[in-house]
């Protein structure tokens, strides 16, 4: 109880911490993501994301963003420029739409956090044209957004909203195991994709978990 942060809003320091933690988690799981992608894709997901998030950390060292929105926009631009593969525009658009959703606000309450996640998910849908059940990032993002929206409506703290999102994203990522892919490189594999987790859904779950960790969820 004593260590739990029950802040009612999240600030720029949280956004920056989230990005730094994401870089660390992506680096730690680089090989796992590469192996998932090698099973059903072109094997570059871990490598590409690691390069993109490392570039974000390098930019953060040069300049601290002024607002959470500015941090997200910088992340968007960097991922789109450095990742190279499909994850670049997909995650980039997610961060870009999240930046637009939070605007100039210095503090994000639960409602705004849930709205940012929803805008990010909508961006991924718009860019990738995927739906739930097609073995993509969306299978992690959509349950995450649903859980976050419900938690915000229940009056939960931002950390609890993100914790709910992260838990749902992990379950969503696991739900891709038995699916046949309908989008992306894996769609060429047909039934051979069955039994493999979608790498984009897996990385989405990791990155949403770090958002909750940075907010102090479960501390």
């Amino acid at each position: 109880m004593g260590d739990v942060r029950v802040a009612q809003s999240l600030d720029t320091a949280w956004a920056v911490d989230w990005l730094r933690r994401s870089a660390a988690v992506v680096a730690e799981n680089r090989v796992m993501l590469i192996e998932l992608d090698r099973e059903i894709g072109d094997g570059d997901h871990g490598e590409n994301l690691d390069r993109g998030f490392s570039a974000i950390v390098a930019k953060l060292a040069l300049e601290e963003p002024a607002t959470p929105g500015a941090a997200f926009k910088m992340a968007a631009m960097t991922l789109m420029s450095k990742v190279g593969g499909a994850a670049g525009p997909l995650y980039g658009t997610a961060f870009l739409r999240a930046a637009t959703a939070v605007g100039e606000n210095a503090e994000l309450d639960s409602t705004l956090v849930a709205a940012a996640l929803a805008a990010a998910r909508d961006g991924v849908v718009a860019r990738g044209k995927a739906e739930v059940g097609e073995k993509t990032m969306i299978d992690a993002w959509t349950p995450a957004v649903d859980a976050a929206t419900a938690a915000a409506a229940d009056g939960r703290s931002p950390a609890e909203v993100l914790d709910a999102a992260a838990t749902a994203a992990q379950a969503g990522a696991e739900s891709t195991d038995p699916l046949i892919a309908r989008k992306g490189r894996a769609s060429y594999l047909g039934e051979r994709a069955i039994g493999h987790r979608d790498p984009g859904a897996a990385s989405s779950a990791l990155i949403l978990r770090t958002a909750a960790d940075a907010a102090g969820a479960g501390a």
């Binding site: 590409n48 631009m77 789109m80 420029s81 450095k82 990742v83 190279g84 593969g85 499909a86 670049g88 525009p89 997909l90 980039g92 658009t93 870009l96 860019r127 990738g128 992306g184 490189r185």
Partner: protein, 234 residues
């Protein structure tokens, strides 16, 4: 000044190669390659695409052609970053054929709509062409199908040794593309460089030309002059 083209590919060599190929047939068109990642690897880069869009934009519009998956998404993201400007559009086209058709059409001074259409119909002979374009663009033009009673018709014989090969096809399609005309040459769209090349018309082949629209006379005269001069190759 003409419409500019941006070629987005996962591979730097592929984007550069498409630009090189298209430039041969469209010397005055700004063609910019945005291929590979920032460090020269396989992939696409928002920064490269945005820089290329800036270079290709002369105020007449920019058409973007892409290869696979994430190239499309990166190009869309670049447009989103720029606030989806009116003068920049993506072509849903085969990269090589579309780029050549678009470049030749741009060389003729055609509008962005026409250049986009040229790219998108490069692989589809029976597809909608100028007629469809003028109506969707909201331009009120009374069109009559080629071959109708008031069409301008002519038949001429190719006299240059190589016939209607790539360069003459580009010359004709480029010039005709800038005119307000619906023109068929041996049954194919005279404004499409790809279609003219598919005719494989060699020396001695008769070209049956039929044109309608405000520029019909001028268009047929242009074809006749070029054919009679052997496209400057005699």
């Amino acid at each position: 000044m003409s419409v500019g083209l941006v070629i987005v590919s996962h591979s730097k060599q592929l984007a550069d190669g498409v630009v090189e190929l298209a430039a041969q047939m469209a010397q005055d068109v700004t063609l910019v390659a945005a291929g590979g990642t920032d460090d020269g690897g396989i992939g696409t880069s928002l920064e490269k695409v945005m820089t290329a869009l800036g270079e290709a934009d002369s105020g007449q519009g920019v058409l973007i052609l892409t290869d696979l998956g994430s190239a499309v998404m990166t190009a869309e993201s670049a447009l989103e970053f720029l606030g989806n400007p009116d003068g920049m559009v993506m072509a849903n086209a085969a990269l090589v054929e579309g780029a050549i058709a678009a470049a030749v059409t741009a060389q003729g001074g055609a509008s962005l709509d026409m250049v986009q259409k040229a790219a998108e119909t490069a692989l589809n002979p029976g597809g909608p062409t100028v007629l469809d374009l003028t109506s969707t663009a909201g331009v009120s033009v009374v069109e009559t199908p080629a071959g109708a009673d008031n069409a301008v018709n002519a038949t001429m014989t190719l006299i240059n040794p190589l016939g209607l090969h790539a360069r003459p096809a580009a010359v004709l399609a480029g010039a005709l593309g800038a005119m307000d005309v619906d023109i068929e040459i041996n049954g194919v769209d005279g404004q499409s460089v790809m279609m003219l090349m598919t005719l494989g018309a060699g020396k001695g082949t008769d070209l049956v030309v039929s044109a309608t629209g405000p520029d019909a006379e001028r268009a047929v005269d242009l074809v006749r002059t070029e054919v009679e001069n052997g496209f400057g190759e005699l």
